[in-house]
Amino acid sequence: MAPLTQYLLLLGMGITTAGLVWMLYLIKQSLGQTLDEPGKDIPAESGNLAPKPAWLRYHVHYYGYALLFLAFDMEMAYMYPWAVVYREVGILALLDMGVFLMILFLGLIYTWTQLGLKRQ
């Protein structure tokens, strides 16, 4: 298919979508007048008024864990290339990864001593 035809198809699809929306608007207009009533702006809660405002601030208790998880999960990505060359390089690769994991593990212990793993 020529590129121009593809773009024409895309254009046609855009026009069809816009036309469909416009049609729906026209159908709604033809069915009669709508009245603006204050009750229509209230969120539907099965007939009851909402007990609390919807805009609440709440604490994301687990954000510390989330950050830790992300950090360690990202570091795991380094293990794939390491695993590929592991057989070739041998014991040296194991030592390299040991140093890397030791430093990484230190971060976890630090978080622990700073009470970052405490259940909140």
Partner: protein
Amino acid sequence: MATDLLNISPQLIVLSTTVIVLCLEMARLPRAALWALVVGMLTATGVAVDMLGTDTTAFSTTFRVDALSLWAVIILGPATILFALLGRSELKDSAREGTIYSLMGFSALGAMILAGSGDLMFIVLGLLISTLAGMAMAAHPRNDPSSEGAMKYFIYGSVAGAIMLFGLTFWAGLAGTTLISGINNPDLSSYAVMFGFITLVIGIGYAASLFPVHFWTPDTFEGAPVSIAAYLSVVPKIGALFALAQVVRDLPVSLVDWPLILAVLAALSMTFGNVVALWQDNVIRLLAYSTIAQSGYYLLGVIGVGQSTLAIDSMVVFGVAYLLMNAGAFAITLGEGTRLDDFKGMGKRRPWQAVGMTIFLLSLVGMPPLAGFAGKFLLFGAAIESGYSWLAVVAILNSAISLAVYMRIVVPIFFQEAEDGQIRTYAPGTSFVWISTLALTIAAGIGVQWFLG
């Protein structure tokens, strides 16, 4: 492998020191952590001094062991000690005091990696280590101004870092390698190389607070503890500018006219920093704008790389001088207070400190025979030798403006009466820092001039 490890032994010592410092902080021994940092940094500096003169590479030419990377260790090791002592004076007995020392060590390690980078990945890595640790330090007081400052540092850093990474992929794609020396090929496409270079300058300019990406500097410095602001004004900046020198060493002028790009940035940085500093009422903000101007001067040395014999010497000498005078000025600010009004009547109250502050500020202007003069003299020489005389003229004019900037601190010290208020005291660490840097500012200035004949 073994020789590689020996070649990067200063950096390895810094890394292990920092790990030990972190362990001592976990054991809640901040005092021991400080001493471990001092001993470790002195050892690393000693090893680097011993290795001076080596010019080799490590790990398949990805890390360069040369004058720049060794001098970076020799400058940044003692720098970390000075700022850790200032930090001890300011943050003693605060929560997570030892973490600050550990973060200082990590950030210095990042700057040392930057200074020796022979591979684009090392530049990215070094920039990340040095600035992320700096962000955590800036947020240390956990109040609104410090969080705001750290957030600005972080957001600018992530955007600048993302732009830099995007541009560096062009370099890696063109050269087929991430080694910096891969770009040293006149057959490459000039536009793509220029695009990569401009994004690299954005990333490095962020850490060095150069003109177009400096906006975080005053806010972060104002919110952070004074010792941390002092640290951020020196350590990441020296690392980043040394990394820029490592890059332009391999960048052919026929591909990108990098001296011209850097010259324009230097002129804008100097002028902007000095002119805006004229309006500041907070000493920390004033010094922050002054560091923007000083990194403009520093670029003169980078411009000379490959064209002037003075280039590397001038960068090293100015690095030492900049560390001494900036650490001293921040130390006295820590002792006196951060408002200009706090300096009123200091000449009568504390004559020695007043004279010391004046000497630091005159050294920042570049008055002979102080260290700042020696550094700027060499920088201007490097710029003139590389054919950028107009830039040297702009720099000299800017030195004249900066005299007016620094006089804004000197005038209240000697010619205004003190306001009634509580007199702040100098902690022993602060006194040690300002006295030692004062002695070295004078000694280094005279020593370099004697050395140059």
